[in-house]
Amino acid sequence: MTARSSILDRVRIALANREVVAHPGSFEGWRPFVHAGNPTEQFTEMFEAAGGEVVSFKTQGEASLWVRGFLADFNSLSVGELARGRLNEDAEPDEWIEEMDPSVVEAGVSLAFGAVAETGSLIMTPQDGRRAQLLPPVHVVFVDQAKIYETLSEGLLALKNELLPGDKEGGELPSAVGLHSGPSKSADIGQVLVKGVHGPGRVVTVIVESH
């Protein structure tokens, strides 16, 4: 008898006379949002409260221009696959960013799949490269305002139903998804809050109002 069948048998014996409990249905949140009907404002408030930074621009061109200026202070950069086109939009060739391995750079740039207002979270997919999202001490993330979902459930369902590169068909999640809801932090040393323990200590969300 395999471990699998032994465990499942024991589960079935344990449950033989137990009353089955019904699933209560969807998680509704059951709370008023401070910024009901305005997911962008709700996201911004939550993300900033967790220690993150948020800037917002009307067009991708304006956003890219600002990010290139912001990045000028850093000596080395790594740019995710999906973010590359965004970063270089409207750029002159001499403005293009030179890239290096994420494990040695000072800042990383990514494109989020979307964001969640309820929790103040960026939804990061592996297509952009997980290392660029995690290893540099500063992480700059583009997100389109149209993809800031009100609730986490909505965000996850949208992700599941989107056809992603590498997928044969829709209705599947990518290999790994990371919700980033602020900088890396810990209070494990003497219960004092420290930022940037393993992941980025500074996360800047760049909202693009119309792409």
């Binding site: 465990i7 344990a14 420290v194 393993h198």
Partner: protein
């Protein structure tokens, strides 16, 4: 470093209070912060509705556990992950050993996992010659010291800043007055090298979604994301009770668990892992192994009352609020899971005899049930195990005799009243020596005056 079992609880807790007063100070201060943050976070939501929902989803999953486990397995396999089943800790270590040998693994990074503590993963890896490194900052600190975790969420809450300063000074030569920021930067640098070099990443799993085959992990530091993203092999150790049916269920659970544990709306990093790197992915592990672990969980599931404890999401709220846990932290409990939740799952998972005296490490004040996000009836289950302990003759002869005598007296109103009248006139101070079996309790306490009339007398006369 592993635990020696619950049986030395009394001696160990007394020793901790007497010999290491700083533990009580650190644990009380840390749990005060956890409690204040949780209260604030619960006040921002309709926590009653959230808890009802979470209780029912978990009970639903547990009462259909066989089907959901099979569904999760099917889905994980479809995602390209490998699935293993382990009946015992011994079996889980054997599976781990196979993977280590198959892949020629020599270094491993570990994300915080209570199940890995329960199974003794670190000792076994070291025995196999694998260099294993804990990467959660708190876990890293206690690994360097060589002690087990003291709390489910904050493994090093019993250690003060001064303890950490001395430790880092000894290990890395950092100045003794380095603050938390500088110490964390030292740890970041040391651990970064290990992350980049590791062959294997080991994690636990907060939730396992049956519908999508997703291992979900909550954290704040980013070490779980790194441990599950950088090494070429990832092993997730998941208890079979961690099942939730649907993807949208984790939306509720990650928020409720975060609020209950640390008072955050959500942990700063939340990983949803479906399987290994796919075509089109730039990085990620080549293999993902999910080890589904029983190790006493089906035994707990078989108990008609205590099975409800399997709803636990390991937020640590019941530890933080417990007036007993707060005095000593987790070490005296002698087992991976301490505090109220440990005291009700240990008898089911280890066997009652092995778990003694954990069901007695509580005042039954009921604070734990008020904060539990999945409404586990902890005090009721403590009493449940105490009753079983008396039935099985596991309690002291005096307690068994006392409870039997009380039962007899309580069944006979005349005797009960007479006994009450005697007790009313009995001196409770130690000098009076009226109650020699209580001398340990009364010698440092003064008793209040007995009321002139018993409750029953007052009840009859009408209480004003």
């Amino acid at each position: 470093m592993s635990f020696s079992g619950p049986k030395h609880y009394r001696e160990e807790s007394a020793k901790s209070l007497k010999d290491r007063p700083s533990v009580r100070t650190s644990v009380t201060s840390a749990t005060d912060t956890f409690n204040a943050n949780r209260s604030e976070a619960y006040s921002q939501i309709n926590s009653d509705l959230w808890k009802d929902w979470a209780r029912d989803v978990k009970s639903h999953a547990l009462t259909n556990l066989d089907q959901y486990l099979e569904q999760a397995e099917t889905q994980l396999l479809a995602n390209g992950a490998k699935v293993h089943w382990a009946e015992t800790a011994h079996d889980a270590l054997g599976l781990l050993e196979e993977i280590v040998r198959d892949h020629g693994i020599s270094t491993a990074v570990k994300a915080k996992s209570m199940l890995s503590e329960e199974l003794g993963i670190n000792e076994h890896l070291e025995h196999l010659g694998v260099h294993v490194r804990e990467t959660d900052l708190g876990e890293y600190i206690i690994q360097l010291i060589g002690e087990p975790p003291s709390h489910i969420v904050g493994p090093a809450i019993h250690r003060s800043l001064e303890d950490c300063q001395r430790l880092f000074h000894e290990k890395f030569g950092t100045p003794l007055d380095d603050g938390p920021d500088a110490l964390a930067a030292t740890a970041r640098e040391a651990l970064r090298e290990e992350f980049l070099a590791a062959d294997l990443g080991i994690s636990g799993g907060n939730f396992l979604v049956a519908e999508t085959g997703t291992v979900a992990l909550i954290e704040n530091e980013g070490n779980i994301r790194l441990s599950t993203s950088l090494p070429r092999v990832h092993i997730a150790l998941v208890g079979i009770e961690k099942i939730v049916p649907r993807l949208e269920d984790v939306s509720g659970f990650v928020q409720l668990t975060s609020r209950a544990a640390t008072g955050q709306p959500i942990g700063n990093f939340f990983s949803l892992i479906q399987g290994p790197k796919r075509d089109g992915d730039i990085d990620g592990p080549e293999e993902v192994h999910v080890i589904l672990v029983d190790n006493g969980r089906t035994r707990l599931l078989a108990d008609d009352k205590a099975w409800e404890a399997l709803r636990c999401v390991r937020c640590g709220a019941c530890l933080n609020i417990c007036p007993v846990y707060r005095q000593t932290g987790g070490h005296p409990y002698g087992w991976t899971y301490s505090g109220p939740i440990g005291a009700i799952i240990a008898p089911g998972m280890l066997g009652l005899e092995e778990a003694m005296p954990l069901p007695y490490t509580s005042t039954l004040c009921g604070a734990c049930v008020d904060v539990c996000p999945v409404r586990i009836p902890i005090p009721e289950l403590l009493v449940h195990w105490r009753e079983k302990a008396v039935e099985e003759g596991l309690t002291s002869a005096i307690e068994s005799a006392g409870i039997k005598a009380y039962t007899k007296a309580a069944e006979r109103p005349g005797i009960f009243r007479a006994a009450g009248a005697v007790l009313q006139r009995m001196p409770l101070d130690a000098g009076g020596r009226a109650l020699p079996i209580l001398s340990g309790w009364v010698k440092e306490r003064s008793a209040p005056e007995s009321s002139a009339k018993s409750f029953m007398q007052q009840w009859k006369e009408g209480i004003e």
